[in-house]
């Protein structure tokens, strides 16, 4: 049913703009999210991520630009879009008086899923997000992380082909984060389009195939995050040694630009993991007693910091 080759599927945003009064929330964002991939939407606070999500979720009309969700325009055909999306908003509430199961069953009814089918679907989702043992508790008593997982289950009730997740990892404990990552990967593996916004870059780096960096309401760049990019990208490495003079001399001799950071550590910039490994081998071969050789930051982090450098 879900074919990755169909060009109409996925999310296609072209030159979208949205202002609230005189506040320009989204200036010009363009992005493509493909089925079968996890696309990360990253950017500083107030960069327009949530506003973009609201437009994708068929709640807001863009002032300009076009949006296509699996080929449908949320302004013209909101029902078609809603049928296909699962939206997990940033900071949402639940009906406190209802139990976890009732919350999901209500959402299923809102999608006009027949109740017998809905019950099975809800049961399966409760297991997916590990809330089965809390199914008959009031939603009010859930912790923040548990509510977050309920929100994810709610976004999955209608078996959406496009998932819009706004900060899904906030409030999750480490185990839940790892589980969320696995859930997202398996959703993408099923051929769904997954768009995730988050601040937690290291996490996104592990789960996302592609990152769209936005700042001040504009999409700055789109970066692929597959193994090739990571292994060839320019990255910083920190080196510590018992022989600092020997290390310094070696690097100078080989014209490796260095930077002294606090604590006597040296930082070098090397393109790709291949070169980094060779540098380490050479250092050890030259008799430098290396005690630490670690990347300073991931490729995504570097890209993000570079893109948002001129932030006010």
């Amino acid at each position: 049913m879900l074919t990755e080759g169909d060009p109409a599927r996925g999310i296609e945003v072209v030159g979208v703009r949205r202002a609230f009064g005189d506040v320009l929330a989204v200036d010009e964002i363009s992005l493509t999210a493909r089925p079968g991939e996890v696309t990360a939407l990253i950017g500083p606070n107030g960069s327009g991520k949530t506003t973009l999500m609201l437009m994708l979720a068929s709640l807001l009309v863009p002032d300009r630009g076009t949006i296509r969700i699996d080929g449908h325009d949320p302004v013209v055909a909101p029902a078609e879009v809603r049928r296909r999306i699962g939206w997990m908003p940033d900071g949402f509430g639940t009906w406190d008086a209802l139990t976890v199961r009732e919350v999901l069953e209500t959402i299923a009814a809102a999608y006009r899923i027949p109740s017998i089918q809905a019950r099975a679907r809800v049961e399966a989702l409760l297991h997916t997000v590990h809330l089965a043992d809390l199914a008959d508790r009031r939603a009010r008593v859930l912790s923040r992380g548990q509510k977050q997982r309920l929100g994810l289950a709610r976004a999955l009730v209608n078996d959406p082909s496009v998932l819009l997740l706004d900060e899904p990892a906030s409030g999750l404990d480490p185990r839940s984060r790892i589980e969320l990552r696995d859930i997202l990967r398996s959703l993408a593996a099923q051929g769904r389009t997954v768009l995730v916004s988050s601040h937690i870059l290291t996490e996104l780096q592990e789960v996302a195939d592609r990152a769209v960096i936005v700042a001040r309401g504009r999409s700055i760049e789109t970066q692929r995050l597959d193994a090739d990019t990571v292994s060839t990208g320019l990255a910083g490495w920190r080196i510590d040694s018992l022989d600092p003079h020997l290390l310094g001399d070696f690097l100078r001799r080989h014209n490796v630009p260095t930077q002294q950071v606090h604590g006597g550590l040296l930082e070098v910039e090397v393109a790709g993991e291949e070169n980094a490994a060779r540098l380490l081998t050479d250092l050890v071969g030259a008799g430098v007693r290396v005690t630490a050789f670690t990347p300073t930051r991931g490729a995504l982090e570097s890209a993000y910091l570079a893109a948002t450098e001129d932030r006010q």
């Binding site: 949402f92 509430g93 009906w95 209802l98 959402i107 006009r112």
Partner: protein, 365 residues
Amino acid sequence: MSWHGITTVARLELRQRVRTSKWVVVLAVWFAVIALVTVLSYLALHDPQVRSGAAMYDIVIFFVLGLGMLVVPSLTATSINGDREHGVLATLQTTLLTSADLVLGKLLAAWAIAGAFLVTALPFLVWAWVEGGVPVGRILLSLVVLMLVLAVVCALGLMFSTLTARPVASAVLTYLAMGALVFGTVIGFSLTAFLVSDEETVRVHGIPNSWYENESQPFNPDGTPQEPTGPTPADCVEHDEVRNVTHTERIWWMLPLNPFVVVADAAPSDPPNDQGLYAGFTPMRWISAGARMARLGETGEVRQECYVGDGGQEPPDPMEAAAKSAGVWPFGLGFLLLSGAGATLLAHRRLRTPVRRLPNGTRIA
């Protein structure tokens, strides 16, 4: 819009209401208060001469309406902006539910709760019926009108909750609207009455003032003044008189906008035979007759005021005459239902997504 969607929303609303509030307690208090009022009015008005059913009927119906207009706005006046504040509205708006489903579902739930309040008051209406003096048809008609009026109140509250960002603001606006309907109409009517009052020349069939001036006192042959005989019906003529006239027929329409007038005028109890309009304590009957009289106002017809002698007319009671004329309530109920429909439509428009223009201070999610 679909029935399934509406009931989904209504079920969700009712479930939350029933679980979060102490509705059993509220209904019990409501029942106790109405019981107290009914028993006291029974004791106060029980009169072997006049069947007290009519009085009890009036009091219970008015009490239910008054209390209902206090309670019912709280069901809807915060329902949409409150949901928005709790962050649970947008998650429904991104499902296949339409804004009509949301509005009508919430309305239906609130109306059902209003109905529960009315049902709790039913035993006392049955009691009034048993006491006699009010036919079942009347009671049923006023219940129908009462339910319609409460539906309008629900719709107004719902509309205000889509118009303001803060639940407090919409609650205040809803109560102000209730106040405008209940007190504003009466105040407006009384204050504009002077605008339509004027000295006017009217045609009167009766004893003209000139009769008393011209009528020189006849004297007996012995010179003592005769006993004055006074005018007889034969002395009645049509003539012009300048009088202070209030044209309430120009401002009567304010009265039936009042929900109390609508409910009262829809089914006033009949005055008992031969005891007149004022027998017993029946505020609904009086309000009804008053509103109808205001509509009749000045007719421009010749006033029959030949109240003299044995052959003269009894002075007719204008209220009695008005009570027999057509009711004003269809007009008022029509107005209320139209406002309710308009309010629902506006709420529906305000809930439509995707949103093009967001009012200041509101968040979509």
